[in-house]
Amino acid sequence: MTNQTSWEPKIIAFLCTWCSYAGADLAGVSRFQYPPNIRIVKVPCSGRVSGNMILSALKSGADGVLISGCHPGDCHYISGNYFARRRFGLFSNLLDFVGIEPGRVSFSWISASEGEQFAEVVKTVTERVKKLGPATRLVKKLE
């Protein structure tokens, strides 16, 4: 399906509306360039993202998943990002257990004023997923 030279990963990014999505917009208005591999899904809060959603994204064919929320203490919804942090701490153990490579799923804090950091995170995540190659472990194949 893909050959290694032209293969480009597709990465789903769940961004919270208040910080990280705004940070992504700021990257845009500031024209910070980053790789076009990312597909952003706006969610109210990083705490809205469940493990199930991440697994579903991988199942649908995502080569990587990024979840980004407000910095600790800055959550628009008081404590949503703390729940997210705890949830993904646990969840990464599960990913490890089912054999998903570390680095497929990333978590970051990006505020509304961090356009440059957003571009940097996307670059880093894209590079990391590229090195891992296409995600195959969870992809549902209809044959």
């Binding site: 208005v29 360039q33 980053y34 809205r48 993202v49 959603m53 505020s111 509304a112």
Partner: protein, 1006 residues
């Protein structure tokens, strides 16, 4: 009872902002604009600094809102002829010139302009291109109605001669019998937002302007860059249409110049304007591009400006500290040769393809005439006279002024003043609020829940912002192939009024029940499009945006194919997401009509008084035992008005006002609730509910340390500016024994640790030096500075200081002044770049102009109201250009030093602006509350209680009888923590459920 309506004169960004703030807080507004459309100078700009936002894109929603606002009576082609009466009850006569095209009939099809045989210079494009005698000034014009120019129309000149437009107009809208109309308007107050004129450099022979075709002004270049301009956004030079690669900007053309026919003041905006153009031009360029800016002092004194300047230098914009002697014809064809003297004193010649003159801002002629008619005082530069303590009040009560008509200033400052003027104009009419207004009624919403989805997709070119990278047509064609998409089209500007109106018709005609707009960010434009859905009888939640500009075309500039693929995915994801959405209720919350103001400095007190004088109760919280904040330490303003008497008067007003509850030695401990109904717990045990909050928590002075210490707190003769102010306030020191004083500027500012300019210190230091010179004319004074930033009319005191013999010596970060001490005597070593040598000074007094920094604890305070802070620790407003006093969190506003360093007049204006914005909420009985709330599927719920634990708002509880969770939608904020936490998939967030989100994710891979 005063009148409940206000006259706003001038339809630029300031007038539009004032009109919207007034109309949204309960007043009928007559907005008088002299041209055919509102938008003013801002609409002519391509991009705006420091965010590089597309100017038309951020302005357009405001213009559209203004154009269709029920309580704004828009009078274009109109002039104020006379004004009689007194504050609270004026009679204004407005004369409206004929448009010759009936706006009620015109459908803006453009056939009249197409067929019109008469070509004339297009003044909107500053004469760079031609338009017809029948014309529309720009594509997003509001009102979007053509007009006929009577000075050029063949028929109007010689009736019976042409009439081509009459023949082609399908709407029968041409009316050559149209006549002048007089409107007699009864209003309570007046806001003047008269704008400025760009300085005309024709008389400055050394620039070559008018003689050499490739010498143009910054405003002209802006039209060259603009996607709606004559070159469709392609950078071309006038003589041959070739893309220039060596471009020079000449600063201070017409400004800071006491010779010639120029202006002595600084025009404030041109430095950033030029840097922005250099950065944007570099972006437009296809090959090598070398921009050079020739300047005297680089004045990047606003929020985010110094960062922008530093970034421009890194990205290869060349900065030359030189005033260009002359622009001569170059050796290559149509090129230009600049002659200037460099910093080493050598005469240099350099060749350029194009030269851009940073022409200043001046008061326009109409302002002068109108001021005469209204008997308003003008200042010596012909700007409308105001004073530091009343920054938006004119000399005539009931008439207020905002924007560049009062002094050259940038867009955020104009917007701030516009809101402040709205505050003043509305405050005096408060009893008549909602007396003359009408309430907007939406058409009955169509019930779509049983319908099969019929999705319409609108893909935006955004001028060339999107279409120069993304293949917009192929995205549109792709959208048509997606499930349930029954309609797709592209638009030049989806947010322009004609497209909006057309969208309403399309929704109705095509029977659409879901809409996707693929354009910019929902953060800026979703409200506009949602309003459009409501106008078309659709529930506003049946909408989704695909962000193919900010998150696609702007960030993948060099990868058009990948960007187009991504745009298709994003549109597909939006379609998938909107497909599963349903109509939601419009929840509201009852407004508690009182305000909380945090911070008892000048900003907080001004805001508190603004509320109280409109009869809204206020709680003012001050953490110390004294009101006044930093203003307690200030001696006088740059206009030489003493601060302490005004401060004392303000404090007295606060203490005497029964509407204001002042709480000293008090802090905020906890905040709950949201706009309309916050609940706040204070440290003194008191708790209150309030509808809005203003953060005016101030800033603090940097304490000189490390290499910036300069013997501070070691030698008794070293002081900060504020300490000198204190001596002057106390009146103890006469400085008669001080033979020599040295000021060091930028102590702790504009360095990597604090990379911002503190804005006020140049002016403050120079004013202090002048005061010292007044007290002791024999004193020798030396100012060691990096750039003198006496922006606007503050430049006058810089000139005064030089005239008084105060010596200015520049330093840079490679040659910092050094301070040593010998027998208690201070020795200053510094490098003089003009003589290129070191000099030694022996001052009796060393004064440090120290940085202003955010308060250490303002970050903690901001958390209570979920307000963002920027990278430097200042509070971050919702939008740096157009929402300078709002936070992204509704119902919370900001003013003063916590936003950015600023002088007293700007803090006062900003505090009034914050109160004006908050008054919009307080003047309503109810405001919209969260509609996207959580919902329990009781059949699936196992009663485990995780949702109850994770909810930060106590909105979820257990129904003990049935052992299922239940949601109190009044408390739910729609974060979705409970949904993610639910183990049995019983909890969902309306329209943001797993089904909608996962449909979007899956769509990315189909």
């Amino acid at each position: 009872m005063p009148k409940g309506s206000v006259l706003v004169v001038g339809g630029g960004i300031a007038g539009v902002q004032a009109a919207l703030d007034l109309a949204n807080s309960g007043f009928l507004v007559h907005l008088v604009e002299k041209t055919t459309a509102i938008g003013g100078k801002m609409s002519q700009l391509d991009k705006t600094f420091p965010t590089n936002d597309c100017s038309a894109c951020i302005l357009s929603p405001k213009l559209v809102e203004c154009g269709r606002h029920f309580n704004i009576n828009l009078l274009t082609l109109s002039d104020l002829i006379s004004l009689e009466g007194e504050p609270g009850s004026f009679t204004a006569v407005v004369r409206q010139r004929p448009r010759y095209i009936d706006p009620d009939k015109c459908i803006a099809c453009g056939l009249c302009a197409e067929k019109c045989p008469k070509k004339v210079d297009d003044e909107y494009n500053l004469g760079i291109s031609k338009r017809k005698a029948a014309y529309l000034s720009f594509p997003q014009a509001v009102p979007l109605k053509y007009a006929i120019d009577p000075d050029h129309c063949i028929w109007i000149k010689k009736p019976g001669k042409c009439g081509a437009c009459v023949k082609v107009c399908p709407a029968d809208a041409i009316n050559f019998d149209d006549t002048e109309k007089e409107h007699i308007l009864e209003v309570g107050s007046v806001v003047l937002a008269l704008g400025f004129s760009p300085y005309d450099p024709s008389s400055l022979d050394f620039t070559g302007y008018g003689r050499l075709p490739n010498v143009i002004t910054t405003m002209e270049f802006e039209r060259y860059l603009s996607p709606s301009g004559p070159c469709m956004g392609h950078m071309e030079r006038p003589s041959d249409g070739r893309e220039p690669s060596r471009v020079a900007w000449l600063q201070c053309v017409g400004s800071r110049d006491i010779n010639r026919s120029c202006h002595p003041y600084c025009s404030s905006v041109c430095c950033m304007f030029a840097i922005k153009q250099a950065v944007i031009a570099k972006e437009h360029a296809h090959g090598d591009f070398s921009p050079s800016i020739f300047f005297m002092d680089m004045r990047t004194h606003g929020k985010g400006f110094e960062d922008y300047y530093n970034r421009a230098r890194k990205e290869g914009v060349n900065f030359h500290r030189a005033r260009v002697h002359s622009v001569l014809p170059g050796e290559e064809e149509d090129s230009l040769r600049l002659r200037y003297v460099n910093e080493q004193g050598e005469t240099c010649f350099e060749e350029f393809d194009m030269v851009i003159l940073s022409t200043g801002l001046e008061a326009n002629k109409q302002t002068v005439e109108l001021a005469k008619m209204l008997e308003l005082k003008l200042d010596e530069d012909n700007f409308v006279k105001t004073d530091v303590f009343h920054p938006v009040s004119t000399s005539r009560p009931g008439i207020f002024v905002c924007g560049a008509a009062a002094e050259p200033k940038d867009i955020p400052q104009s917007v701030m003043e516009a809101s402040a003027a709205a505050m003043e104009a509305g405050r005096m009419l408060a009893p008549a609020r909602w007396q003359e207004t009408v309430v907007k009624k939406y058409p009955l919403e169509r019930d779509v829940h049983a319908e099969v989805p019929r999705i319409g997709v609108f893909v935006c070119h955004c001028g060339i912002n999107i279409s120069s990278v993304v293949d917009v047509d192929s995205v549109m064609e792709y959208a048509k192939t997606l499930p349930d998409v029954v309609f797709a089209q592209t638009n030049l500007f989806t947010c322009s009024q004609d497209t909006i109106d057309q969208m309403v018709n399309t929704i109705k005609e095509q029977g659409l029940n879901r809409v996707v707009v693929a354009s910019c960010s929902p953060r800026t434009h979703e409200p506009l499009f949602q309003e459009t859905l409501r106008d078309a009888g659709l529930n506003k939640f049946l909408f989704e945006m695909a962000n193919i500009r900010d998150q696609d075309s702007w960030v993948h500039r060099d990868e058009p194919e990948a960007a187009t693929v991504k745009a298709k995915d994003l549109v597909h994801m939006a379609v998938a997401r909107v497909r599963g959405k349903g109509a939601l209720p419009y929840n509201t919350v009852k407004v508690k009509k009182s305000a909380l103001v945090i911070g008892g400095g000048m900003g907080g007190m001004t805001a508190a008084l603004s509320f109280a004088e409109q009869d809204f109760p206020v709680t003012l919280v001050e953490q110390t035992d004294r009101l006044g904040g930093n203003a307690n330490k200030l001696y006088r303003t740059w206009q030489a008005d003493e601060v302490q008497p005004y401060l004392a008067e303000t404090i007295k007003k606060i203490n005497d006002n029964p509407r204001i509850d002042v709480r000293m030695n008090c802090q905020v401990e906890d905040v709950g609730g949201s706009v309309g109904h916050f609940t706040t717990q204070l440290s003194d045990g008191f708790s209150l509910t309030h509808g809005v909050a203003v953060m005016a928590v101030g800033g603090e002075a940097y304490k000189p340390e490390g290499k910036w210490n300069y013997l501070y707190s070691k030698n008794p003769n070293v002081h900060t500016l504020l300490e000198v102010d204190q001596m002057l306030i106390d009146g103890q020191a006469d400085f008669k024994q001080t033979a020599q004083a040295v000021f060091i500027h930028c102590v702790g500012s504009r360095i990597p640790e604090r990379p911002w300019c503190s804005r006020v210190c140049c002016t403050h230091a120079i004013d202090s030096a002048i005061k010292l010179k007044e007290l002791n004319p024999e004193m020798d004074i030396f100012m060691l500075y990096r750039d003198i930033r006496t922006y606007g009319q503050r430049e006058r005191i810089y000139q005064e200081a030089r005239a008084k013999g105060i010596v200015f010596i520049r330093y840079d970060l490679d040659h910092l002044p050094g301070a040593t001490e010998k027998n208690g005597k201070i020795i200053i070593q510094t490098h003089d770049p003009i003589v290129d040598g070191d000099i030694t000074l022996h001052p009796d007094l060393l004064i440090l102009a120290t940085a202003i920094q955010p308060r250490q604890d303002s970050g903690n305070l901001s958390k209570f109201f979920k307000c963002a802070i920027d990278a430097h620790g200042f509070l971050l407003e919702a939008h740096m250009k157009l929402r300078p006093v709002d936070f992204a969190t509704d119902g919370v506003y900001l003013a003063g030093l916590c936003h950015y360093p600023k002088p007293l007049e700007e803090t006062i204006a900003q505090a009034k602006a914050a109160a004006a914005r908050a008054t919009i909420v307080l003047s309503q009985d109810e405001v919209p509350a969260e509609s996207i709330t959580a919902m329990v599927n009781e059949a699936k719920c196992t009663g485990c209680g995780v949702c109850v634990t994770v909810c930060a708002y106590s909105a979820v509880s257990m129904d003990e009888d049935n052992n299922v969770a239940e949601v109190n939608t009044d408390l739910c904020k729609g974060c979705g923590a409970c949904v993610a936490g639910c183990r049995s998939d019983a909890m969902t967030l309306m329209n943001v459920g797993n089904e909608q989100l996962m449909a979007a994710v899956e769509a990315a891979f189909e």
